[in-house]
Symmetry: C2
Subunit: 340 residues, 2 copies
């Protein structure tokens, strides 16, 4: 059977069950309205480590640990780990892969990773190549600022469009068979192309990603022959307030009215928090809000079907200095609730 | 059917056909014994571009173009692109994904990428999610030295264990159905875990990867219930001369005698070339030698079955400065020849 649907979408023949989930957020993120949704809060940015990079590695480990506990599994029960983070050479994911000793696929799609890993993981499960796959991602405000912009120690002021990289992590365990009480499953995915809006400002990631988000959402609805009404929420990862405005405006011009169902993890996580007007970003943003808020809402029956579109800005400090623009990519996965 | 075999291996139900291949090498690489094997030689390191990063992007594009031509395909015929390179945020792959407009999975496994992308691509094809998948990777001596060690302009002398990052690229097109004259296909894969040998010297990548290579080869033979004699070649990506010595020594101690069938792309590419005693490394090393030499040997009937184990050292300049060691990862794919 060919499960390839349309030009860019796939549907899964069997439900790919979500049997475990973990979400971790930092202190700043816990000041927002989602505090109660996260499994764990890291009250200190260093988490007792000597460097922020080592702290981020711990965030990743905490989310994974929580997901494994929830699924009643040990690392040895996982067939594969699909992991990513924002740091060069994805060190948070790779050092965790070493410690967990799970066969490992490292991926890189910037902040689109939570959806990229779920898409690949679901293909492995539905394709019969794995029984259980662990998908995880993380980001940290201090490590990302240092790598992509300025070290925090410099005290550089933020520009008006700059989002805050979320200190957080998310982990999801996919399985061919449901666990006791499993309600959520993946039913399909739409894989993104790299879309370039010509943005060259490293502090305007929302704009760099909005075009990719729109392309993936539009293609998804077309491939699956659905309308926004078929979803309780169409969730973008981290467009932030400015990127969200852009997305909704462009979508309207294209005749796709998603305003009523659209939610953005980057907007949600810092809603009403002082000094975070533009919202959050980073792999840990979509990762923690998906696992902390949306999967919970599906489990509790508040939602029945969502499209989770994690959005990534492929920012490189080297290529930007060489006059290249910052393209974006967005991957979408359909997550549904099955009644008992 | 569960195609998951053993703890870390998968077998493909149907042959995953290789219908196109492209290999590009630089001037230094063309001084070696494999010159005639490569499809294209880039005589100038800048390839007419203003920066080495832009030149590497061109290498990637050239390999892809050649593979597409060989398969008689256009980019639009590809369902997915699985791409990687060594640069931060995998910019060579990502900018090519933008230009090609193929739905894109970015991955990162350092120099293990050619095998990681083939494994993922073959799962997509055999799982029924794609008809055709393009897998590609690249590296460039000047961009890698600048990013991981010192810019060439400094004229820093090499240490005795330092390998030369290969300027080159490789691309392979996988397909559910054979093209006219197709001979080679993927039949299985073994996914690597991250193995840490405790190496902290950024100029000793071979040692950092040898343990991962051994673990993957050993697991592979166990999972598939085969011996080294079942292969015409067990090929590692880029251990170089020193890493190869280590691998063969460790393998012997473990009772796995691969000496007679073992080949290393990093050793082969610079064999006899002055000043390149430790051999080559980089994604482009395994990528160009697999597509230029080994797939050709299989097509011509000189070999019938190989195990291609691309090896990656997960080197991060940040984590090494923070006292972390450099772990390795290796993924293996089985490529076979079918008689007409």
């Amino acid at each position: 059977m060919n499960k390839h649907l349309g030009d860019r979408s796939v549907k899964f023949e069997q439900p790919v069950w979500i049997i475990g989930k973990g979400s971790v957020a930092g202190q700043e993120e816990a000041r927002g309205p989602l505090r109660e949704c996260f499994d764990l809060i890291a009250e200190d940015g260093l988490l007792g480590e000597k460097t922020f990079e080592k702290a981020e590695k711990r965030l990743f480990a905490m989310a994974v640990q929580r997901a494994l506990e929830g699924a009643g599994c040990s690392p040895g029960d996982m067939d594969f780990l699909v992991g990513e983070d924002l740091l060069n050479q994805i060190i948070s994911a790779s050092y965790n892969a070493r410690d967990l000793s799970i066969p490992y696929f490292g991926i890189y799609g910037a902040c689109s990773s939570m959806a990229e890993s779920l898409t690949l993981g679901a293909m492995m499960v539905d394709g019969g190549f794995a029984g259980k796959v662990l998908c995880a991602t993380s980001s940290h405000f201090a490590t990302a600022e240092r790598q992509f912009r300025f070290p925090l120690e410099l005290g550089t002021p933020q520009t008006p469009t700059a989002q805050n990289t979320v200190t957080g992590a998310g982990a999801t365990i996919l399985s061919a068979t449901p666990a006791y009480g499993s309600r959520c499953y993946l039913s399909g995915a739409t894989v993104g192309t790299v879309v370039d809006m010509g943005i060259t400002d490293a502090n305007n990631m929302g704009a760099a990603m909005a075009g990719a988000a729109l392309e993936t959402i539009g293609t998804h609805l077309e491939d699956f022959k659905r309308t926004p009404k078929d979803y309780d929420a169409i969730v973008t990862g981290d467009l932030g307030t400015f990127g969200t405005e852009l997305l909704l405006d462009m979508a309207k011009r294209c005749g796709i009215d998603i305003e009523r169902v659209h939610r953005d993890c980057g907007v949600m996580i810092f809603e009403g928090v002082e000094g975070k007007k533009c919202g959050g970003s980073g792999c840990g943003c979509g990762g923690s809000v998906l696992n902390g808020y949306f999967l919970r809402s599906l489990e509790e029956g508040k939602m029945k079907r969502i499209l989770f579109v994690a959005t990534g800005a492929l920012l490189s400090t080297t290529s930007v200095q060489q006059g290249e623009s910052i393209p974006g990519v967005a991957h979408g996965v359909v997550i549904e609730r099955r009644e008992a």
